[in-house]
């Protein structure tokens, strides 16, 4: 389907307006949900106050670390699995069934291993995110056209150079899909872990506000996460479109 940025923006605007009107008209109780304009004002206040700066940096830092580990580790693991057809046959069924397992049940194991705090949270997020990158890497390597590898051989390129200058670029579109998924999973993993299991970060701040009936703060923080995730995703999307447009005009 063709991408229509104006239509998408229109849908969001309409929903936000509907919510705003419903709240202002008293159709929705203030204890349930606050008007979007209030959410925005709350977001502004809590950014300006600086009270949540530490939580924001901690969460984004953990997401960045988990994404980095997942992307690099998933790529290396994917290449290694691809190298052995035997190993791959053994492991592939588990990879495809992987996301049926609720990763969060392993939190106690990670707490034992890494202690309470960022270590365990990053570990959960990596567990969630890395398999998407492994799968994307395998997929990309399967789709390297044989004729390109043969071209590298005819040009008498050493294997490592051929891998870096021919095979890697040929897999880039698939790797990029893996990168996007890994970042999305890292966000889910970090924020959900903080929410349920930790005493710090944005996820925890939302849970804390919720438990203390601080609706305004809670919605402000939620809006913050939605905005950050949307900006990250939109940037990756633009990059992806540029790449695709060039590779298959």
């Amino acid at each position: 389907m063709r991408y229509r940025p104006l239509a998408s923006a229109g849908v969001v605007t309409a929903l936000v307006l509907a919510l705003e009107v419903s709240c202002r008209a008293g159709l929705l109780k203030k204890s349930t949900i606050i008007p979007p304009s209030d959410m925005a004002a709350s977001l502004w206040d809590l950014l300006a106050s600086g009270v949540y700066s530490h939580a924001i940096l901690l969460t984004l830092g953990n997401v960045a670390i988990a994404s980095g580990i997942s992307i690099a580790g998933g790529f290396v693991a994917g290449v290694a699995i691809h190298a052995s057809a035997f190993f791959r046959r053994g492991i592939e069924p588990y990879l495809s069934a992987y996301y049926a397992v609720p990763t969060f049940i392993f939190y106690p194991v990670f707490v034992v291993l890494f202690g309470v705090g960022s270590g365990a949270i990053v570990a959960i997020a990596v567990m969630l995110a890395i398999v998407a990158m492994i799968t994307a890497t395998l997929n990309g390597m399967d789709r390297i056209p044989r004729v390109l590898t043969r071209t590298a051989r005819v040009l008498r390129m050493p294997r490592l150079r051929a891998a870096l200058l021919v095979q890697l670029p040929a897999t880039t579109p698939y790797l990029f899909t893996g990168v996007r998924l890994s970042i999305a999973y890292a966000f889910i993993g970090v924020i959900a872990s903080e929410f349920i299991l930790s005493g710090d970060g944005l996820g925890y701040a939302i849970a804390y506000a919720y438990n203390n009936f601080e609706n305004r703060t809670m919605y402000g923080l939620m809006l913050l996460i939605v905005v950050v995730v949307s900006v990250v995703n939109a940037s990756l999307d633009i990059l992806d479109r540029r790449l695709q447009a060039r590779l298959r005009a």
Binding site: V147, R150, T151, V154, L155, R156, P169, A170, T172, L247
Partner: protein
């Protein structure tokens, strides 16, 4: 290369895919004997699946023969020898590079200096009629133009032997004739030995000094025909009276083989 008479020689070359004579093994080629004379234009025609690409792989050092000897410039072929250029049957342009970068790729890899790269790339791009597209990406080009990018990329390396596997397969007949002229021009200018695989008899007869006719799989040469054309020929020789006679002679050989191939494929013969 003083005193060298042949660019490449194959003797008793056979290629079996899969475990030798085990279950699922496939005798794709040979035994084949072939002496490619230095600087000649040699075409190979044969029914589909008879092992033409396999033959090219052996000459290019991409695929070792299961039996027999293959040599290039008097030395046994082990791995891809220096001095060989290949244009594959499939599109082999790098989609992430512009036309100019594609053409320059091999030169950058072998450490040619910048000014020389520019000179050769400009020349090859002009020669192949790609000047307008030098900054375009392959995705923006037609299949035929992408194939020209691949030819240019091979050409700039100035190989002493050029192997082409149905490079014009995607083109219409008229464009093929014109591309054939380009190929002849390229061959004359470079002095390289050319081996061209084609399924067009016209193309083979028009371009070549000699045409090798292969049998159905496992492919063997059942005839090698000297055309006797002058070196400065072009596509207009299709009007020469001998053209039809040569074409007829090749078709006579090929007809029986093609029918054999069709029967093994379960297609009803005429």
């Amino acid at each position: 290369m003083d005193g060298l008479e042949y660019a490449a020689r194959l003797s008793g070359v056979t290629r079996v895919y899969g475990t030798a004579s085990g279950p699922g093994s496939l005798h794709a080629l040979g035994p084949v004997d072939l002496d490619l004379r230095l600087g000649e234009f040699f075409s190979v025609v044969g029914p589909s699946g008879c092992g033409k690409s396999t033959l090219l792989d052996v000459l290019a050092g991409l695929n070792p023969p299961s039996a027999g000897n293959a040599e290039f410039e008097g030395k046994p072929i082990r791995g891809v020898p220096d001095g060989i250029g290949v244009v594959f049957q499939e599109d082999a342009s790098f989609p992430w590079l512009t036309v100019a970068a594609n053409v320059a790729f091999g030169l950058r890899e072998n450490g040619t200096d910048k000014a020389e790269i520019r000179r050769r790339v400009d020349y090859a791009i002009g020669f192949m009629g790609l000047t307008q597209f030098r900054d375009a990406y392959p995705a923006q080009l037609s299949g035929g133009m992408r194939q020209r990018v691949c030819i240019a990329r091979t050409l700039v390396l100035q190989p002493r032997m050029i192997l082409l596997d149905e490079p014009f397969g995607a083109l219409d007949q008229q464009t093929r004739l014109l591309m054939g002229d380009e190929l002849l021009r390229l061959w004359r200018e470079t002095g390289a030995t050319v081996l061209l695989i084609t399924h067009s008899l016209d193309e083979a007869v028009m371009l070549s000094d000699r045409v090798g006719v292969m049998s159905a799989r496992p492919g063997q040469f059942i005839d090698v025909i000297e055309t006797g054309w002058p070196k400065d020929r072009d596509s207009r020789i299709v009007a020469a009276p001998r053209f039809g006679a040569l074409n007829g002679r090749i078709w006579e050989k090929l007809r029986a083989e093609t029918m054999k191939h069709m029967q093994t494929q379960g297609v009803a013969g005429p």
